[in-house]
């Protein structure tokens, strides 16, 4: 990928945000409509048509908000909703929100349309029409300060906290200095770091809120009996959740922390934000995030144009809607899985590159995504998506002090 200065090209949306992709989203509103949605998208799967959806038949305010935010994400240009017909999801409200955002939207109700085949034909006709319109849509100049960038780590091992995560942190520091909004997350993987993190908050009140969010995560996971820690983490040399946390925390870089947000909250301006992904209230609906893609979907619902994914063991995932930049922390894994990895951060461990150099490489790669560049996972058509049940209280004023 070659750099052409830092000016990107984006698609301007009615709320003033700009997208670095112009994707058609096909969204199923219950698992029973998933197959039809997938079949509609398959012929277009390499032409920026992505499937997202919510599998549950019973209503959930968190899931409805997530779907609204995702369907009006700046990387999305048009939306097709696929309903079976009898599910509880409020398709009318979702369609209205998308229409009010100025995006073309259509709802296909499978039961009313006459079944699978008719719904597929009608859906594909809509997608083909929208794809042609979006391909002809003009772009506008976009500055890196307009970016929202998320970061997540998955398949972590003993290298993640030494190379990939601190390099992602350096890239975050560069973006925050340029005025972009950067989001780090998984309070369950900040257990043990809460005090040093709180010291970086822009106000003492926010610092207390950051500490409370980690205490909530520790309580939540203690009730479930397991930390946010998979068997492969231990095989990769990580011994405890605290050790994994110290490594994961390095992704946040060294900037002051401007706020705490929850899934679907868009950062009000540039700065560094902690995304609290652990539900509020008593433990219900199971694990906060059943896998990495649930976290990626939440970062995207907060407006992330791209997500930095640091892996040691070697995750291969991408995502619907926003590009996922895979940063491989482990040099042995990189050599084995190079086709899936955008950045070889293992060079830091081998003494071949500095943290700053790899941080700069990550920064420039993200800017390049707005200049025609695509990630490895995009080229491989990775478009993973998962969304489950959760419950949250809205954030209070002390969460966003400035």
């Amino acid at each position: 990928m070659t750099m052409q200065g830092s000016t990107m090209q984006g698609w301007l949306r009615s709320d003033g945000r700009k997208g670095i992709r112009n994707t058609v989203v096909v969204a199923y509103l219950v698992e029973c409509a998933h197959h039809v949605a997938r079949e509609i998208a398959i012929p277009f799967r390499e032409h920026d048509v992505h499937v997202i959806g919510f599998p549950g038949c019973y209503p959930n305010a968190y899931a409805e908000r997530m779907m609204e935010r995702l369907c009006t994400h700046p990387n999305v240009g048009a939306v097709l909703l696929i309903s079976l017909g009898c599910e509880s999801f409020n398709k009318y409200a979702l369609e209205r929100v998308v229409r009010e955002s100025g995006r073309p939207v259509k709802t296909i109700v499978i039961q009313a349309t006459g079944g699978t085949r008719k719904s597929m034909d009608e859906g594909r006709a809509f997608v083909a029409e929208q794809r042609a319109l979006l391909d002809a849509a003009p772009t506008v100049p976009m500055d890196p300060s307009e970016l929202v960038i998320g970061t997540v780590c998955g398949g972590s091992d003993g290298t993640s906290g030494i190379s990939g995560n601190p390099a992602a942190g350096r890239a975050f520091d560069m973006f925050v200095a340029e005025g972009a909004a950067c989001i780090f997350e998984e309070t369950g993987e900040l257990i043990g770091c809460e005090h040093i993190m709180a010291a970086r908050a822009v106000t003492p009140e926010l610092g207390a809120i950051l500490e409370q969010s980690v205490a909530k995560a520790a309580r939540y996971y203690a009730t479930l009996g397991y930390g946010s820690f998979a068997a492969g983490n231990a095989e990769g040399g990580l011994t405890t959740i605290e050790e994994k946390s110290m490594g994961a925390y390095a992704k946040s870089g060294a900037s002051p922390i401007s706020g705490l947000i929850k899934p679907g909250d868009v950062p009000p301006h540039g700065g560094l934000y902690l995304l609290d992904v652990v539900p509020d209230g008593e433990v219900r609906f199971g694990f906060p995030n059943i896998n990495d893609n649930a976290e990626i979907a939440e970062l995207i619902a907060c407006g992330s144009h791209a997500v930095l994914f640091v892996t040691g063991r070697g995750s291969v995932v991408g995502s619907a809607i926003s590009p996922v930049v895979k940063i491989c922390a482990n040099p042995e894994t990189y050599r084995r899985m190079e086709d899936d990895m955008d950045v070889d951060a293992g060079r830091i461990i081998e003494g071949k590159a500095s943290l700053d150099a790899v941080g700069r490489e990550i920064h420039d790669l993200v800017v390049g995504l707005g200049q025609g560049g695509r990630t490895k996972s995009e080229e491989l058509a990775h478009q993973e998506f998962v969304l489950g049940y959760k419950s949250f209280e809205p954030i209070g004023p002390a969460c966003l002090p400035v």
Partner: protein
Amino acid sequence: MPLPDHEPLQQLGGQPSDGGERSDARLLLLSEADNVLVARSRIRAGEAVAVEGTTVTLAADLPLGHKLARRPIRAGEKIVKYGAPIGTATKAIAAGAPVHVHNVKSDYTPTYHLMDAAGGKEGRA
């Protein structure tokens, strides 16, 4: 309180990094306060490595990213990495011995691990 993950890591890139003045160059010291060293590449069983000036022969492979004790650690003592506590020793650990789920426990939630990926035994530390 300083950020223990940044100060030592800045010394890493592009510079000769080693396990401190008196340890093998294949071992990484992340913070002066640490009582563990991290393998920068796999070190094979039977190899001799210097740990704080003492030569230790590894009883088993130490894979990339795994830890060994920088000095003798008492049962009940905190394990310190990145300059921060990452758990508590459950038994005495000799200098140069591997430090992992068999001799460390979390101070927060137990660690779920498969004892042997091939055998599939489960355990919690």
